[in-house]
């Protein structure tokens, strides 16, 4: 470290991108435990009410679930590619890819909206007469369905907001070819949202 040298006002005097990414991973671990706890609840109740869960799963539309899975997997592709694009200095391509990711997220939410809406029409919502008259296993299944996919959808919305912020930073140039850890961090969050759905999908839609 040089002493006795006059420095101009230091900007980003010390950046630690590895530390930043590690910090994001630590946060992701808290999310893992959050959803992990819910998965444990699911596991115990399914273990105790296998038939109720199977009956409940029949009500879900496998096609919509599969399409949503494909949407999220592809959105992970686009956000990952957005980082490569930025590393290559291709700012507009990066912006297009982040924007596409956000649009995929929106499509996922629109699907969820119609899915839930359809369930509500059938009278299948927590506390409804149609639901409370069913066996305990089915009541638990739907309770978990709404809580877990609902919490997941909330994370999709948060992810969209995070990516939108990052998109603005990229557009303005503060996230760029030489400084893109914010985009990486946003991507990491998004991939976790994808991984959670990778587990939610078979556990709720594919019980036969």
């Amino acid at each position: 470290m040089s002493t006795g040298t006059l420095h101009a006002a230091p900007h980003a005097a010390h950046r630690d991108d590895v530390g930043s990414r590690m910090g994001m991973w630590l946060f992701l671990f808290t999310e893992l435990i959050l959803f992990g706890g819910l998965f444990i609840v699911y596991a115990v109740y399914r273990f105790q009410h296998p038939d109720g869960f199977r009956l409940g799963a029949v009500e879900l539309d496998t096609l919509v679930g599969t399409v949503n899975t494909i949407i999220l997997l592809t959105s992970s592709l686009t956000v990952a590619m957005s980082i490569t694009a930025l590393q290559q200095g291709r700012k507009h391509l990066s912006l297009a890819l982040i924007g596409t990711t956000i649009l995929f997220a929106l499509a996922f939410l629109v699907n969820k909206y119609f899915e839930w809406g359809h369930k509500f029409e059938l009278g299948l919502y927590p506390g409804s007469p149609q639901l409370t008259s069913r066996p305990q296993g089915e009541i638990l299944y739907f309770g978990l369905y709404y809580v877990m996919t609902g919490l997941h959808a909330l994370h999709v919305i948060i992810g969209m907001a995070v990516l939108a912020f990052v998109m603005v930073f990229v557009a303005r140039g503060s996230v760029n070819k030489d400084s893109y850890v914010k985009l990486e961090a946003g991507g990491l969050y998004w991939h976790l949202v994808d991984i959670i759905w990778i587990f939610l999908f078979p556990l709720f839609y594919l019980i036969h």
Binding site: V18, F29, F47, F199, I207
Partner: protein, 98 residues
């Protein structure tokens, strides 16, 4: 002591590699859906979760760059995963045997 910022770029992963992983993910999704239609009895849940684990490994390894990070990242993820696994196992010891 060198004043060394750790901000040289991350490893650049090419588009082609990402697309290949994505194709793998789509294939595994197709397999999971197809298998759900077959009566595997108790094995359906194990295979479904197994495939989900493989898909997660693909996302973690390539999309989330774990393969290209310093090894300590993979260690941290392993510790988190094992912690969660312990929660599952201990909970099940309680419910399965009382």
């Amino acid at each position: 002591m060198t004043h060394h910022d750790q901000h040289h770029g991350t490893h650049v992963v090419g588009f082609a590699r990402y697309v290949l992983i994505w194709l793998g993910l789509l294939s595994l999704t197709g397999i999971t859906v197809a298998l759900a239609g077959i009566d595997l009895g108790r094995w359906v849940i194990v295979t479904a979760l197994g495939i989900a684990a493989v898909k997660s490994a693909l996302v973690l390894g390539t999309f989330m760059h774990l393969k290209f990070e310093q090894p300590v990242f993979r260690l941290f993820v392993a510790v988190a995963a094992v912690t969660l696994l312990i929660f599952f196992v201990l909970t099940f010891f309680d419910y399965a045997f009382h």
